[in-house]
Each structure stands twice: as structure tokens, then as C-alpha cells.
Symmetry: C2
Subunit: 306 residues, 2 copies
């Protein structure tokens, strides 16, 4: 592998940034990697575990002279960070981000980007339920997708960012900003909201205790708890900033749910059976596309048979 950006700055040092660092080291993708986190505790942890070649005490210090600056903070913090680093950005540098929402990030960041600096929004579609500087690992992006939303950026800067993500293990695809926000509402934002809601309901019942919910969770419930354990700040910002798309998909979801509820109430077994049958094909597609394991129960335990 060869160096794609000589100097990379990671602003924000959570799951995504720390995984990017280890993946950059694995691939020899960057010369020097600097890092900054707002919290002093996070910076101390980063220094202790060797996360980043140099941990800086301000975003501007980390971004100075960088060829690539990656904004890895929650979507709601993007504007402030963009403003902080704007004065030190090097001509010809590229600024990118890893936010789960793109229109809102563009609105927040683009006005601060100086003439001669490229801004190429991106969204690596990978994560786990763990957060913070110690949660990262080099393999996080392997075989996952990173969506690139050029939004008018120069082709050369866009291509280079795609090569960078591919060197971190990801596949890349360019997407229009509006379509991005809608796709993500479907495959990510609403699933998270629903999982949070289901876990919240179970936690809040009087007649079924938390201990019972926990003990008997293997019957289905526990699949929801993983994504409902994701970072609360990040997800708050996602819903505040992708409001239109999430409300639209949520409307579709409740409409379908009410149709199934009615089928339960009226005892319409055929409707339930037909609905439950067609959803099997989607699972098969995901396994065939290499995006999940065919082992039963996510391969959590038992034999790894397909």
C-alpha cells in the first residue's frame, strides 16, 4: 500500500475515528495522523493507547498543514469545529466528515470552507454498539460501504477520498445528498429509533419486570438491544438533523404496523402469513451480498452451520 494523504487530522476520537486510525496504520495509508478530542479525558486515553501519532490540544492545531481533515464529531458539533479549523486549512487540502446525515452537515460546514480547500462529505456505513476512543479496530470498514456525496467537489479530490476509503477496507459509492439522507433513514435511522423504542417500552412495563425481560431476551428482544445501546449524542443529532426523511419513513412504518395490528385484531391469518413470507427474501439478499453471516443466531453460539 502507499500513502494517499501525507498528513491526516482526525477531529473527534470516537469509534469511527479510532477505527480509521488503526485501519490507516494497517494499510500504510497516511504519513502522520494527528488527532483532537474536546474532552481532556479522551485526549489522555488516546495518548495512553497510542491512538494518533500526535494528539493535539485544539482542533486547529491538529488540522494545521493537514492534507485531509476528517470531522468525526456528532452532526450537531460540525459547524463549530468547521469554524475552529477554517483559518488554518492549507490550500489544496480536503475536508471530509463521517456524519450519518449529509444535507445538514453540508449546511453546517460548507460556509466555513475557505476558497481553495475541497469539501467532500462522506459517510462510512459501519459501526458497533460501542463508543469512545478505545472501541475502534482496524477491520471495522472491511467490506462495508462508504457513501461519498461530492456535492460539487472537484473530481480529483473526490477520487482521492474514494481511494482513501478503499485503502481502509471499504467499498465506495457516490450518492446525491437527498437520496443519501433518505436511504439512511430506511437502513439506519428508523431501525435505530424503533429499537430504542422497543427497549424503552420493555424497560417501562410494570407487569413484566426488567429482570424477566433480561432473562428471557433470547426469544427475539435481544436483537434490538444492540443498536439501542449506540451512542445517544450521535443519535439525538441524527434525528434532529434528518427530520424530514425520518418522519416520512416513520409514517410509512406506522401505516404498515397499523395494517398488521388490524390483521391481528380481525384474525386475518392470510395477511399475516403473506407478510411474514416475503420478508425472508430480504434476509437472503443480505447474506448473498456478504453483508451478514448465514450462521444461525448471528453465529453467537452453537455450531457455525449455514
Amino acid at each position: 500500500m502507499s500513502v494517499i494523504y501525507n498528513k491526516v487530522a482526525l477531529i473527534g476520537l470516537g469509534l469511527i475515528a479510532s477505527s480509521m486510525f488503526w485501519a490507516m496504520k494497517r494499510g500504510g495509508v497516511a504519513g502522520e495522523v494527528t488527532g483532537y478530542a474536546r474532552s481532556e479525558a479522551t485526549r489522555d486515553t488516546a495518548r495512553r493507547i497510542g491512538l494518533c501519532d500526535r494528539v493535539c490540544d485544539s482542533a486547529a492545531e491538529a488540522a494545521r498543514d493537514a492534507d485531509l481533515v476528517v470531522l468525526c464529531v456528532p452532526v450537531g458539533a460540525m459547524a463549530q469545529v468547521a469554524q475552529d479549523i477554517a483559518p488554518v486549512l492549507k490550500p489544496g487540502a480536503t475536508v471530509t466528515d463521517v456524519g450519518s446525515v449529509k444535507q445538514s452537515v453540508i449546511d453546517a460546514v460548507a460556509p466555513h470552507i475557505p476558497e481553495g480547500v475541497h469539501f467532500v462529505p462522506a459517510h462510512p456505513m459501519a459501526g458497533t454498539e460501542h463508543s469512545g476512543p478505545e472501541s475502534g479496530f482496524a477491520e471495522l470498514f472491511d467490506n462495508r460501504w462508504c457513501l461519498i456525496v461530492p456535492h460539487g467537489a472537484e473530481a480529483e479530490a473526490t477520487t482521492r477520498l474514494e481511494q482513501f476509503w478503499q485503502a481502509l477496507g471499504a467499498q465506495t459509492e457516490q450518492m446525491d445528498v437527498g437520496h443519501h439522507d433518505q436511504v439512511c433513514a430506511v437502513v439506519s435511522h428508523i431501525p435505530h429509533l424503533i429499537a430504542y423504542t422497543m427497549v424503552g417500552v420493555a424497560d417501562d412495563l410494570n407487569r413484566v419486570s426488567d429482570q424477566e425481560v433480561i432473562k428471557f431476551s433470547a426469544a427475539g428482544f435481544r436483537d434490538f438491544t444492540r443498536i439501542a445501546a449506540s451512542d445517544p449524542t450521535m443519535w439525538r443529532d441524527v434525528f434532529l438533523t434528518n427530520k424530514d426523511a425520518t418522519l416520512e419513513i416513520l409514517g410509512r412504518f406506522t401505516e404498515e404496523l397499523f395494517a398488521l395490528q388490524r390483521a391481528i385484531r380481525t384474525g386475518d391469518g392470510d395477511q399475516l402469513f403473506d407478510y411474514f413470507t416475503r420478508t425472508r427474501a430480504v434476509r437472503r439478499g443480505i447474506i448473498d451480498a456478504g453483508q451478514d453471516t448465514a450462521a444461525p443466531d448471528f453465529g453467537r453460539g452453537g455450531p457455525k452451520k449455514a
Copy 2:
């Protein structure tokens, strides 16, 4: 281990029955195990793979002389099977089932149980998204819970069934029938309904293609697709027969979802943040109770760090 029932009959040969067979063999829990499935193809498969010591061509033939008869058919098929085996049941034998709903199974089965035969309903809370006679494996019940709903059965027969399930690897707990159906609505039935709905919505959108949903599913959606690939007949029957409890929990779910929807619409970030924070504790409880892995992403890929 020692034999707990000399002769066991499995009526229905899907995931649960086939896993019970392999677990009985592993533990030396039964003398002879007979089996019956309505479909000739399933019976042929069972004979081919050595599932059951003897595969019979009728439920009555399989149940004749059995010390334990386990009804492993969808809830909606329980009444017919109970009627078919009733004439051959041996005095002192125990009939049990593995249905996900208990009041409805009791209503369907109890009237057919002859004097002198014990009926002890049970529900092993384990499963995978795979179905059929070839999907079973001996470890399915290890460290999972099997709920026993004695419903007036003799203590001795109940205790023996608990020992049987413990010998298959499960932990057992006795529960009242009404409470069982409510607990299962929360930890299993409504999570499945919601997962089916989310997958159905994603499959049904015009502006986001199925291929996009599949490609980008690692962002959260794919966690839903596992349980939405479960057996459609079984789940149809669950909702038709646990109507009251599922409609009640569904009402609670939509109420909470509307509250979060309103928070998104009005931009109430504090409410979203608070909600997303408290759900983390439930996940931690499930991991501490040994009911799921702490490895990121269910340990699907990447390093197995906690």
C-alpha cells in the same frame, strides 16, 4: 446422565424438535425417540439424516407407548394433533408442547387429554431464523430458559419435565399462564412483529431500491432481518392466538413511538437524548446475565473484544 423418559415422541419435526432430538442424544436423556411430521418430505428427510430412532407415518403411531409426547407443531395445529394421539396415550404418560403461546395451547389441547395422563405445557425460549428438520443442533437450549406452565398438573410430572429440560441444557422456571403470554408478547412477539414490519417497509419503498437496502444494511437494518426471517406459519399462529397481549404491548409501543416522533418534529433533543441513554442499561443487563455476547456487532466479524 441418565434416562429421564424411556420413550419420547416428537410430533412435528422442525427446528425445536430436531434440536431436542440431538440434545437428548447428547445427554442420554431418552431411551427411544420416535418422530412424526405431517409432510412426507419432512419424514423422508428425517429418515435420511437419522433424526429420531424411528420415524412414524402417523402421530398416533409415534405417540403409542410414549412416556413423554412433545407437541412441536405450530400453535394452530395443536388441537388436531392432540385429538389424533388421545386414543393411544398411555396411563401415566406426560404430554407437553413447545408453543410460544400458552393459554391458547391449553384451550386447544387440555380437552383431549384422557384421565390419568399428565399435561404440562412448556415453552423453550430459544430459536434461530432457520426452520425445518435439518436446522436443529444439540446446543440450541444451552443456557437458555424453558418456561414451564404447570396449570394444575401434578407436581411429580412437572418436576420430571423440568429435569428433562435441564438435561437438554436449559434453565427452567415455572410461570402462570397469563403472565407467560404477556412476558412473551414483550420479549418475543412484538419484537418479531416490529422486525417484520421494518423489513416489509424497506422492501416496499419506491425511492430506495431493494438493492440499496441490502447493500447498506450493516448500518442497523440487518439486525432486524434475522428474526424477520423466522417461520411464517409459526408466527402467524402466535399473533392469532396471543391477540390480547400482543395488541396491548403494541399499543404501548406505538404510544412511545409517537412521543419520540413528536420530539423529532418539535426538535426536543433533551427528550431524545434521555430516552437513548436509559436503553443502554438494558443491553448491559442482558450481557451480564449471559444472554448475549459483549463482542461488538454480535461478534459477526472483526476482533472479539469486549
